[in-house]
Symmetry: D2
Subunit: 434 residues, 4 copies
């Protein structure tokens, strides 16, 4: 293929240095990002062509030709024969060029009744649906690993902290189960968000529809959307709006990764020494021979910040009146980068969690008599002492507690969800229905 010229370029001209800088500024990394959208754009183009055949804009033969050509394009893209790079203005027009190159005038028909605006919208929507499905699946996997670990370590003693201060006796079972439930929620949120955006924008052109009775019911079904996004203007107005919501689903999962990474960062310090991580997740120092640092965990903690950046970047674009504005093109990079980088982190979490090696002895050593005071206060309350009075009585008065055992304390923590009653099977059940 020869380097295509822009669709609307009216004359060929030598480009000044300034012109090149303008073009460079305007395109940026756009076409590279389109590699993430290309398969979805091709998929939607095929369905758009089917729709055109159904209203007699294309004949069956023409449709067959276009379909074959689009299949060919996808195949070439996947095997690297067709490279989507800066020689194209963007992935969306690349499709039209490929078809025109292969099919001549017939290729020029593919854009009938559609605009790059709805082409971008439908490809992005399909991409987001896939991303949310990936998110859901990895959250389910993480939750499952946590459930397995929680079960295995249900009775392993662990100091329970509030304010990063030793508070009460707790268990590794409780700790793992907290992430199990959290990632179950994250999986559900991914699904809900997917449902929320599961609407077909194809067939709305530049935001005002067209004077063609496009068969949008057909394309909605053929593309696997749950419903049609009806209003053409809303399709444009939902750019950024939907992207933000997709990113919030990722943010919730990554927020929990940040907390998890904080825990492990502290727990692997010499001071806490509650766990050891697999070698895979640590590295050395360039000047200090003695160091072995939990770098991977720190970068996991850091990863949430990328989503903060991506989300705020998109949000900052969205102070605009109705209708498409070019500003919206800049939602693409933060959306795709935010998703890609989050997934590259999330897929490591199951191995990280399953490889945790608990330092049982140090965990036990961290239990001090005062950490039984709450148990005792509740016992007194159970016997009829008003709780606030029991509380005052126990204050700074821990000598009698020294003989208590951690495992006993765990066994008596029977309130639903607590150490003696983790309710893992309820969580597992909910996870299956997520």
């Amino acid at each position: 293929m020869t380097k295509p010229k822009q669709l609307w370029a009216t004359k060929d001209n030598e480009k000044s240095e300034l012109q090149q800088r303008v073009e460079q500024f305007m395109s940026g990394q756009d076409v590279i990002l389109d590699q993430h959208l290309f398969q979805f754009d091709i998929q939607a183009s095929k369905v758009h062509a089917q729709g055109l055949q159904r209203i007699a804009i294309l004949t069956q033969t023409e449709l067959n030709q276009i379909t074959a050509s689009l299949d060919e394009l996808l195949s070439q893209f996947e095997n690297g024969q067709f490279v989507l790079d800066q020689t194209f203005e963007d992935g969306h027009s690349a499709i039209e060029y490929f078809l025109t190159e292969q099919l001549g005038d017939l290729g020029k028909k593919i854009h009938t009744g559609r605009s790059r605006n709805d082409q971008v919208a439908v490809a992005t929507r399909l991409y987001c649906k896939k991303a949310l499905l990936d998110l859901k699946q990895v959250c389910v996997r993480i939750s499952q690993v946590c459930l397995t670990q929680a079960e295995q370590h249900a009775d392993s003693v662990m100091p329970g902290y509030t304010h990063i201060q030793r508070a009460v006796v707790s268990s590794w079972g409780l700790w793992f189960a907290s992430f199990a439930e959290s990632f179950c929620d994250n999986a559900q949120l991914a699904q809900q968000t997917l449902d929320w955006i599961d609407a077909n924008p194809l067939g709305t052109a530049a935001g005002y529809g067209v004077n063609l009775a496009l068969d949008r019911d057909y394309t909605t079904e053929a593309l696997g959307f749950a419903r049609m996004q009806i209003n053409p203007m809303y399709v444009q107005n939902s750019r950024g709006k939907f992207e933000l919501q997709v990113l919030t689903a990722f943010k919730q999962a990554m927020l929990d990764v940040r907390r998890l990474a904080w825990d492990l960062s502290l727990f692997t310090s010499a001071e806490f020494n509650l766990v050891k991580l697999s070698d895979l997740f640590s590295t050395g120092s360039s000047i200090m021979p003695n160091k072995q640092n939990p770098d991977t965990v720190e970068l996991m903690r850091a990863q949430y910040a990328k989503l903060v950046g991506a989300y705020n970047e998109i949000e900052s674009l969205l102070s605009l009146p109705s209708g498409y504005q070019r500003d919206l093109q800049n939602t693409k990079a933060p959306l795709i980068n935010g998703i890609t980088e989050s997934l590259s982190c999330l897929v490591l979490v199951p191995e990280l969690l399953s490889g945790i090696d608990i330092c049982h002895t140090d965990c036990e050593k961290a239990i001090e008599p005062a950490m039984f005071a709450t148990d005792k206060a509740v016992e007194l309350a159970r016997e009829g002492v008003p709780f606030r009075q029991a509380y005052q009585q126990l204050k700074d008065n821990y000598q009698d507690l020294a003989s208590r055992s951690s495992s006993q304390s765990l066994q008596e923590r029977v309130s639903a969800g607590a150490c003696a009653n983790l309710k893992l099977s309820e969580m597992a059940e909910r996870l299956e229905n997520a």
Copy 2:
């Protein structure tokens, strides 16, 4: 009631100026904000007491006394007899003081098996559920007004813009319908978010449960929660996490308000002059006698920024390890302020929209022949001219289009959702099921 001392103050002492500054710094506006949570805290306290009676910590008589006293407190709070102000440390401990003041030792029993941590969590959760319900309802109302307006103005000509440039003929019906569908989505999101957080945190104490078989199934049902939030540690870890998600639901609605306000800000300028607003929504200038400005609309546009602030503030707190940290207390102000201010804006939108006065003559005047070029290109494509060729043919060649009429153009825009096919009843139906 006398001014209560702190629960954990071991001795009364004169407070130094520094101490006062520390306390002032630590409490801030906290107790004032608790006025928003107080009714929910009382409600949850009643149910907690019922739960304690079910496991024999309280007798039926004691429960009755506590219930009566809590009802009394609510009633005094609502009629202003009981003022929740800075004489209390916070609303949560105010309840215990009131009960102790009224019931003596019995009052000191209410805190058995619970912590301020789960007390805060349950009151906040109930508050958020109510806020999301309010959000949903106002979104439904806005959507309904839009549907009514869209139907009434279905055939009213309006210039359609992209890039704030005149693009094609459009209709006010399409414009109103775009917001109808958008606010229908917003209503649905409010409901989904409500579903997502609809889990009972009561009964998890300070994050590690208690050595009491609290009847959490009962309190879950009695408080109207859809499910139990099982893991006590997760209850604490979900602080901030859930608040963020609640705010995103508000953000989506307010993002659309921002776009709406942008439209109206432009449309009311002398240059566009497409609509007039009700006098209610404009004000004058202190120096320029001639000015009548759409201030309310500008402040509506500005309102989204408060949510940006609130959301980012909460998010910025959440780089913490597991378990309760005092930092989390600071999620309260942005949550409550963000919700309150958003609702105060959203409730004005129905009147704003229903009071819009369209300047039909100026709308018609804004239609130029070139705005029919896309129609014509599609017509040519329908006749078999490859679309890209038709497009090139039309470029800068608009003389033949001068005779076209706007209403004709609207009538031919038949693709689903477009001006001739707004599908308002489909939207209305979806709205009913939101």
Copy 3:
């Protein structure tokens, strides 16, 4: 004073409930926030009147009357006789009302040649200058405390961490000195920012100047500004712009408070146990009798988030064309709240730092032989062994290091700024010139 009506209200009318909700939405907390600006507004009003006298709009007698009346207003405001509350539209128009109430027609002259727009701008500018001066002073104070502590604890051993992992021997002197230098930079930034905004906006009216030869050179000097902000349109366009920069100066200081609070939060844990804080800075738990938590430190860590919220809120407003838009009014609340809350935290830091009680024994215990490996590697390099080779040689080979002493290690750390060479006097000198 009777309740004033709005300046531009053309007729008195009964307000509908909707109208009241609109007004409530539009004014918000505005007039309450104006309490922070009021003294500056009065100050600028006096100088504006002086300027009007210099160009013969006011006679000397009129000026004297207005000056006396403004002095009276300030005095009444300060002693609580004049209350700036919701009966006024805002603080800016309250001044005109007071003057008109006291002086009749003469009061109506004060607004000649000015707009509320430049009145707001000049009061806010003066307020920001004062805030930055306060910021600078508290940063200097913090830096001084750090220098004192660094000198006192120059030889106190402390484990040096990277990745929250023990790395090398370090000293409390180094730790305190790090904050000394940081807050010295913060003081300098406050001063630079003050210089940057030190420009007089008074005399630019609503953004287009006036047909009066206002003596702006005079008002610039009389108000103590370093220069005139020349362009009237820029005065309006700098709203938000300058506020953001003021907040970044506060952010830098509060960012260091966050890091400081993180250190102390970890160091006060049972696991680290490197320091104890004054009782003043900790509190108990409502359910766990045994807890004493560093709550104040946690809330200090949390405080930065308020600035994140404030900054992002203002920033989110600023996607607007040139000229005043009502949106800009909403810069006021985040600016004032951000500043007020930051200062309320910063003033506590000197006491916090000077009250730190170092646990020397535990600090010493935290030093392990491997922490001397870097020292040894550098010694080998000094003797000619290529550093990378020395590094490899030391790896996992620490037995020879067990005999080394911490104090020896500190004494040999002679590179400029390091433990044996803290350069505190250089810092003190720079601080004096900040």
Copy 4:
């Protein structure tokens, strides 16, 4: 060169797929970003070697060899012979590899007394200084173009807007001058920020200095720093802190670009039609043959969002205790991308501004009689009518104003900075001293 192994890899091993994913996650685009820092890293490495020679760690001959080798590396990097890509862990270790490859054991000496931590810090600091200088220069250039345009169009009539509503007569001179003063401030801020960070971090190792009397005074001077960053721990703690401040300097300039782009976006609409842009800055539509859109201006407006993302991403990382944490590595991408993208936009602004074509006829047509009301009110005030009374008198009473001329109004706007008194030479003078 052969593919280098990691500095601290103790054994060569086959990497599992998981290991590869971990490494991919950890390195990300890091080494690619290092291309921006590489020349500065080489520069600092040369000076570090000079410093080592001054304290006899290297002989003069060794220094000469290292210097020659580093010069060779820079030259190979610049001509593309040496490619910094993913075969290296990062740019910082690439230098050591290159030296070791070329010089054997001597190459292994370069890291004596330094850590990658201070190597990163010094390269980044030099990069930021250069970026701020570039920023300052482009701001000066923009301001100069604005001054030229303001002078040329000093008397060209333009409607003056507040609230996007026609307010008073104004001039293009005033509009251009507003950006002239704004970008003069931006240039000054760039310089101030440069001064603030102009401190040498080299010689602080991993945050605790070294047991070598490194000649930091020498390296400070040789690298052109204004002062030494004294405290080693502060060097690490200032990571992110300084980056944020650098980005705020860029934000201020880009914030003005956003406002400028908003103005031009509105002014080029058919409704306003106040200016035409050069063809260079507009493009067409894929479906609407009639469209010519100001896309470049829209993308300029959008560009600020990237800085919002970058700034928030870095900020979100910075909730950490003292000392280096790996999280800080992730400050690099947003810093470099934010700067690079901002500069790519800013360099286009001078051409954009100088190519503006004013539609004088439409500007004149936009002037309505009511826009003279403020002039008239001030005239009455000048004659002794209390301003507020004059204001009321003029309200809705504009018939007498119809005979006024725009140019007369401009000539009488004599307050400093206003249309008849733009004070361009004062601005030019301040710009020269920026």
